[in-house]
């Protein structure tokens, strides 16, 4: 009924702009023309070898900037997409990837691994992310079991169990970090969303999880719409409610855990982006899901660029930027939304 092309155009432009910004800005600025030439050369190398300074730029672009940009974009899409799904699933405007303990569980897993010096064992670089992923999945399973009443999972139970388990995991994480010595700073940086991994390896490792998770979520738009009427009406309208809920929880948790595993705990993206999309464009989940993913990628890229330049040459963890910019913005959204019907 409504014109849906414009929101997609706008969010897509935001993403493209953020992508360009992210590959251009950093310790060395790469001007757009050079970027263009480097890309051309990267796709179809010229017969003549590159000048030495251009070759350095090429290395920066292809081994540092591009993989980081890809990682950040995927993380933003993952957090915003799963945030949208959680908000719709729990019919709660405060629901986000942190609510049911995914992120804190992942954090605990990672810090446990770091304090046990896992990264240097046979698992190598992937030890910490693997532990984070396990932590996330175990936490969701625990929350799910605690919240379950026979065959159903009442939303209130789920949120209460999520908050409790989350606090518990965070407490253990804090305790471990206070007690640890050498690895503490690294763990702290990771927890605040400072990516400690570089190169294409994390991107390649993340891709299948994100594709599977977000791909599943995109198909759940209509189901999330119907769930807004409550479980009972949803089932009477013909939605297989329990199956849909489990699918959404699994897909969103997988997506979040994967993102957190490789990028650390980045707050506010999963909370704010869905609200922004709802406020500006649509409350129809069939559009909210893809729009949140695209905008989430764009916004996190911008935050990441800020994290790189604000205190250059030192980099800030991007989580600090998203919280600093996100909290006041969120309060503004909240004030505006109070005057309208969004929930």
């Amino acid at each position: 009924m409504k014109n849906t092309a414009r929101p997609y155009m706008s969010s897509f432009l935001l993403l493209v702009g953020a992508l360009l910004l992210s590959v251009a800005v950093g310790s060395v600025f790469i001007p757009p023309i050079t970027l263009f030439r480097l890309f051309i050369n990267g796709v179809a190398p010229a017969a003549r070898p590159l000048a030495e300074d251009t070759a350095t730029l090429s290395t920066i672009l292809f081994s540092l900037r591009l993989p980081r940009t890809a990682l950040v974009a995927m993380t933003g899409a993952a957090l915003a997409g799963s945030g949208t799904a959680y908000q719709g699933l729990f019919r709660n405007p405060l629901a986000d990837p942190y609510l049911i303990g995914v992120a804190s569980g992942a954090g605990l897993g990672a810090v446990l691994a770091m304090s046990a010096n896992w990264p240097y064992t046979s698992l190598g670089m992937l030890g910490v992310p693997l532990a984070a992923f396990l932590g996330a999945v175990l936490t969701v399973a625990a929350v799910y079991q605690l919240a379950r009443v026979r065959r159903t999972i009442p939303t209130t139970n789920l949120i209460l169990a999520g908050v409790a388990v989350s606090s518990f995991a965070t407490a253990i994480t804090s305790f471990l970090m206070i007690n640890s010595t050498g690895e503490m700073r690294r763990a702290l940086v990771w927890l605040l969303g400072g990516s400690t991994m570089t190169g294409w390896q994390p991107v390649v490792a993340l891709l299948p999880y994100i594709t599977l998770g977000l791909g599943t979520l995109v198909t759940m738009g209509h189901a999330l719409n119907v769930l807004q009427f409550g479980d009972e009406q949803a089932q009477q309208l013909g939605l297989p409610v329990q199956r849909v809920r489990v699918t959404i929880i699994l897909a969103a948790s997988l997506t979040t855990a994967a993102a957190v595993s490789f990028s650390g705990v980045i707050g506010f993206v999963g909370l704010i982006v869905p609200h922004l999309v709802r406020l500006v464009w649509s409350s129809d989940y069939r559009h909210m899901l893809p729009l949140s993913m695209i905008s989430g990628a764009g916004l996190l890229l911008i935050a990441d660029v800020l994290a790189r330049v604000v205190m250059a040459p030192q980099e800030l963890p991007v989580g600090i930027i998203t919280a600093l910019a996100g909290a006041p913005f969120f309060l503004w959204v909240l004030r505006r939304a109070k005057q309208q019907h969004f929930w």
Binding site: M1, R91, T219, G221, H222, A223, N225, V226, Q228, F229, G230, E232, Q233, Q235, Q236, L237, G238, L239, P240, V241, R278, S283, D284, R286, H341, F342, W343
Partner: protein
Amino acid sequence: MLEIKNLCVGYGERLVLHGLNLELPAGQILGVIGPNGAGKSTLIRTLSGILAPQSGQMHFMGHNLPQLTPTQRARLIAVVPQANQLPPAFTAWETVLMGRTAHLNWLGQTSAHDEEIVRQAMQRTDTLELADRRVGELSGGEQQRLLLARALAQAAPLLLMDEPTAHLDLQYQYNLLQQVRDLVDRERLAVMIVLHDLNLVSRYTDRVALLVKGELRALGSPKEVLTADLLSQAYHTPLQVLSLEKSGLPYILPPVG
């Protein structure tokens, strides 16, 4: 068409419906009445698959109801709930479109055919002019008509209504029930409707089931069931029943003096 045999439903140990037997043919409105806690809403929730029966049978058009998936059931049975908990952010059009859920593919895509059915459902319930308004801006009466439209969009031959007039003023109560009456007469739907207002039951239903403490106390035409004896006993209140002049329909009043 709908056949309920020996139906027992309960929450854990506590039985709410004991051995209920009911039949509802197409083209009829069955009013379900009874004091609070009689099991009226439980009956609706069991038929619509929210509660599982402990024993007994429910068949509709040859289907064994408890064995159906939610999607299969929703193609046969539509529920009109009370309009007090609708999400406010959707438009009226989007809300009625949800009625097509059981007919959509796994991506939830709506076709021109679906939209045509939604348009007709809204036309039949006088809600088409509200299509672009957000539900939160609509009155209780408009929301209730929207829920009827949503149920019609579901295109199911059986309609279950749980106190659909609860939040409506007189005009909308009559309007809504007259619309239901017309639909049943014109399209041979079967309707089971829970009502508290016995005079509405008298005026709009074909048959009445009186439930008391989970048991069927009486079943028959309004004239047979809406009697002073049966009602006074069921509601533990002395009631007068008058007979209206032209139609002979029963008219229920509280005791005078």
